[in-house]
Amino acid sequence: MSALAHTAATVLAATDYTAAEAKGIAGASSAGFAYGLAAIGPGIGIGYLVGQAVQAMARQPESAGQVQTTMFLGIAFTEALALIGFVVFILLKFV
C-alpha cells in the first residue's frame, strides 16, 4: 500500500502538482484502492455463502425458510467487513 502511495506520489510529483497536492491525491487513491480491496473479500464470501444456501434450498426445499434466515444473517455479517473497509476509507479520505 505504501509502495503504491509512493509510486503515485512520485508520478504526481513529476507533473505540475505541488508536493502537498500530490500527497493528497496519492492518499486519496490509496484510500480508494484499500476500499476496493476491502470489498473483494466480502464479495467472494457472499458469493460462496449464497451459492451454498441455494444448493441447500435445492436439496431440501422444505427447509428453505431456515436456510434463508441463516443466509441473510451470514450476508449481513460478511457485509460488516466491507463496512469496516468503508469506514476506514472515509476516515482516511475525509478526516
Binding site: 470489498a39 466480502p42 464479495g43 457472499i46 458469493g47 449464497v50 451459492g51 444456501a53 441455494v54 444448493q55 434450498m57 435445492a58 436439496r59 426445499p61 422444505e62 427447509s63 428453505a64 425458510g65 431456515q66 436456510v67 434463508q68 434466515t69 441463516t70 443466509m71 441473510f72 444473517l73 450476508i75 449481513a76 455479517f77 457485509e79 460488516a80 466491507a82 463496512l83 469496516i84 468503508f86 469506514v87 472515509i90 476516515l91 475525509f94 478526516v95
Partner: protein
C-alpha cells in the same frame, strides 16, 4: 435435487421478518447511541450517529426486501440479487456519505464508529435470538390462547393470529415445530 432456477420461496419472507425485527431492536439502541455520542462529540455527533443508525437499518431492510422479492421468482435470481445488491448497497452507503460530508453537522468519526458497532450489535443480538429459536423451537414465544379467557376460543379464526401451524412457517422458517400444548 431440484433445479435452483425453479425453486421459489413462497409465503412470508424470513429475511424480511428478520430485518423488521432488527429495525425494531434498533429503537433500543437509539438512547445508547445518543448518550455516548453526546458525551464525546456533542450535538453534531448525535446527529451523525443517528444518521449512521438510519443507514444501517435501511441497509438491512433493503437487503431483505431484495431477497424477498427475488426469492419469489427463483432461488437463482435471489442469489444474483444478493451479489449485485451487495454492490448496490455499498454504493448507496457511499452516496449517502458523499451527500452529507460537507455539511456542518456531520462528524465522520462517530458516524463510522456507529455504523460498524450498531451493525454488529444488532446482528449479534438477532443471532442469539435466531440461534435459540432454531435450536429450541419449543421455547420460542407464541401467541398461545389463554384458556381462562372466554374470547380465546375464537382466536383460531382470527386472521391476525400469529401462532405457527403445521403448514405455514413461522418468522424464522420453522414449520410446525411448536411446543406441545398442555
Amino acid at each position: 435435487m431440484a433445479d435452483p432456477m425453479n425453486i421459489r420461496i413462497e409465503g412470508p419472507s424470513p429475511a424480511m421478518q428478520v430485518a423488521v425485527d432488527l429495525a425494531r431492536k434498533s429503537v433500543w439502541l437509539i438512547p445508547v447511541v445518543v448518550i455516548i455520542s453526546a458525551a464525546f462529540w456533542g450535538i453534531d455527533g448525535v446527529l451523525s450517529s443517528l444518521y449512521a443508525l438510519a443507514i444501517v437499518v435501511v441497509n438491512f431492510l433493503l437487503a431483505a426486501y431484495m431477497l424477498a422479492v427475488t426469492g419469489r421468482i427463483s432461488a437463482a435470481v435471489m442469489a444474483a440479487a444478493a451479489l449485485f445488491g451487495f454492490l448496490l448497497r455499498l454504493g448507496l452507503i457511499f452516496l449517502a456519505v458523499l451527500l452529507v460530508r460537507n455539511t456542518e453537522w456531520i462528524e465522520l468519526l462517530p458516524f463510522g464508529i456507529t455504523l460498524i458497532s450498531t451493525h454488529l450489535a444488532l446482528l449479534f443480538w438477532e443471532m442469539r435470538y435466531v440461534s435459540a429459536t432454531l435450536a429450541f423451537p419449543g421455547l420460542k414465544p407464541q401467541a398461545t390462547p389463554n384458556p381462562y379467557l372466554p374470547s380465546s376460543e375464537s382466536s383460531d379464526s382470527d386472521p391476525s393470529n400469529l401462532s405457527p401451524s403445521a403448514s405455514a412457517p413461522d418468522s424464522y422458517g420453522n414449520r410446525g415445530l411448536s411446543a406441545p400444548k398442555g
